[in-house]
Symmetry: C2
Subunit: 382 residues, 2 copies
């Protein structure tokens, strides 16, 4: 398996220059050393690790050391609930679920209905709030463990966050926020404050458990600026620095760009009727040639193919089968129509099963809410 | 009584140029017309009205009209709990209590433990929070009606405020906050956000009662900038504009300045042992002459006397007795020692009785907390 990481097709970067991103954000690339250690502690490998779907990190090594040494640890990730969930959103959640299961960790999941309301003119607060509940069903459909999964809905669970947030806020000047997030004088003051809440959750487990808790945050690298601040001020507030592990973004089914709600025809939503999801795949932009003849002669380019990326990042667990698909495409023996048809059938099956679990999830939703399990943190003299 | 407002000694302004303040803030002076109407609705006069301790307002006339027309109304004021309460703090509360009693209004009282923590380097959060509870005892000692008095402690009751606050925050740019409150790039982002919470409380009654509620805010004019924003954006959020009535500040017992915790020897705290309170009065700076002989000959200046102001603003209800004291001072027949001794004895008696009620208040405190009476407001589609 390890060899495939080094030489396999999925090592080639498509669509986004992740090397450049790494440099811009100053994060560390995920090396074999961290991957091996995580796999050893987890007792198995994961496709998103060995194919470097998760490709960079900050202090993952420290987190794994603390975990191994028996310190209390937790996971933290979240979602800005401004619409329906698509496969690009659930990609890191699939991995987070694996971490939860394999490392036995509790997960704090923040639904930032405040942020989305503050950011998007069109959204009213009840809308972003109701998306928070809708999106929670997707976590349930992924079979996160309810006793170990704690959903925080910002506008309703602010009581958990605010006592930590004011301590955070006292450490952060407007100047820092402006430089980090590009705020201007015309930014609304809700957005100016909001990062404090996202940072606060990284310290919340320590408050709730009443002991130093090391937090690992699986998330896109675009969220890195929040945790950079969180790491900078952690020590002065008496909290452990949070660690991060960054995933690549699932490409959309169009010619370029990540899967995004701004292009719904190129995004497969978890609530798409399964046959619609399959249709979207059949209409996907591929790395294939304009004609069958040319494809047979020249072969396709899986490195620039949204369909191949879906196999690589989510739908093909078997490395040798993925490799076979890669070379069959490259050599022209696999045609796009057949390749899409197989993915469409996998996507259709996935959506059907996912949606059954999602529908059954409504009755269990309350078990996932942080407010059904924890008391709000009390103010203690330091 | 009315005549005394026009010609009485207490019409003379001491220590602070309130006319100038009115111009700076652009508020309206309280006229006989509003005072008469309020006294008529209240069924009696109040010394702080007829002596213009409350001296300016915004839209008090509208508030009184809506009250008279039977619309739901409420009172709102608060305190930044950074230390013990002194007589300067309770002055507007005494009037607020009168408004509650005479107009039958519920009061929302905000304890801004977050603001004080964010503002003062020396304070930690548990400290400002515990001052919020300590200061609440002073409200109880003033005999506010528990069923009609709802104390909001920001860090703990943020769940009541935040759903309203994010709607407020979306309407306010950083530019507005900067211009209104003089924030700079080095201001912490907690302080940048905080005004939103103080504004939010002015709309909270409408949310909690589920009907348009007209809010009157008795407070110092220094708080006016908050409500100016609150009034500017109220309509766009579907809330009635809050009205204000501004009080003058009780002078400290020193040669100048308001009663302030920065000069504790010139401030009478509600928790001062009664004999200490009396001692502070006996050591007060007065408008008297350097010697008894000169005082007999030239008379004193009650308009520049912290002791006379205490009588005028709090401790002498009887207008004719106050007038007599004024002229006896002016003509030199009343000596400072005697004048102070009488105030000292009133202050001592006040503190003794106040503290008995304050001590008994601890058991009743929970009855005053908003969380013991209201559910957090729910997010509704507009």
């Amino acid at each position: 398996m390890e060899e495939s990481v080094q030489v396999g097709p999925w090592a080639a970067e498509a669509f986004v220059d992740y090397e450049k991103l790494l440099k811009v954000f100053g994060a560390k690339p995920l090396t074999d050393s961290e991957v091996h250690k995580l796999e050893r502690l987890a007792g198995e490998s994961h496709l998103m690790l060995r194919r470097r779907v998760f490709y960079s990190h900050r202090d993952l090594d420290m987190f794994l050391n603390m975990y191994e040494a028996g310190y209390r640890c937790a996971l933290y990730t979240g979602r800005g609930p401004s619409g329906s969930t698509h496969l690009g959103h659930i990609l890191p959640w699939v991995f987070t679920k694996w971490l939860q299961d394999r490392l036995g960790l509790e997960l704090f999941f923040q639904m930032t209905d405040d942020e989305k309301f503050l950011h998007e003119e069109r959204l009213d607060l009840p809308e972003s709030n109701s998306f928070a509940y809708e999106n929670s069903l997707d976590l349930i459909a992924l079979e996160f463990e309810p006793r170990k999964t704690h959903i925080i809905i910002d506008t309703e669970d602010i009581g958990y966050l605010y006592p930590v947030a004011v301590k955070v806020a006292k450490k952060i000047t407007y100047s820092t926020q402006k430089a980090t997030f590009g705020f201007t004088d015309s930014t609304n003051v809700g957005l100016v404050f909001y990062p404090v809440l996202q940072i606060a959750v990284s310290y919340l487990p320590t408050e709730l458990y009443g002991e130093e808790t090391y937090v690992l945050i699986p998330a896109g690298i675009d969220q890195d600026p929040y945790w950079r601040i969180a790491r900078d001020i952690a020590q002065s507030l008496g909290y452990p620095k949070p660690s991060q592990i960054h995933n690549k973004l699932l490409p959309g089914l169009g010619p370029e760009g990540k899967m995004s709600s701004s292009k719904p025809e190129t995004a497969v939503y978890t609530t798409d009727p399964p046959e619609i999801g399959a249709q979207k795949v059949m209409r996907a932009f591929t790395g294939g040639q304009p004609t069958v003849e040319l494809q047979r002669k020249l072969g396709g380019n899986p490195d620039r193919c949204s369909v191949f990326k879906m196999y690589e990042m989510l739908f093909e667990e078997d490395d040798s089968k993925l490799s076979e698909r890669y070379w069959n495409c490259r050599t022209g023996s696999l045609l796009c129509g057949d390749c899409k048809a197989e993915l469409a059938s996998r996507v259709q099956k996935f959506l059907r099963e996912f949606q059954e679990r999602r529908d059954r999830g409504r009755d269990k939703l309350h078990q996932y809410l942080i407010r059904s399990k924890f008391s709000e943190p009390k103010l203690k003299h330091r």
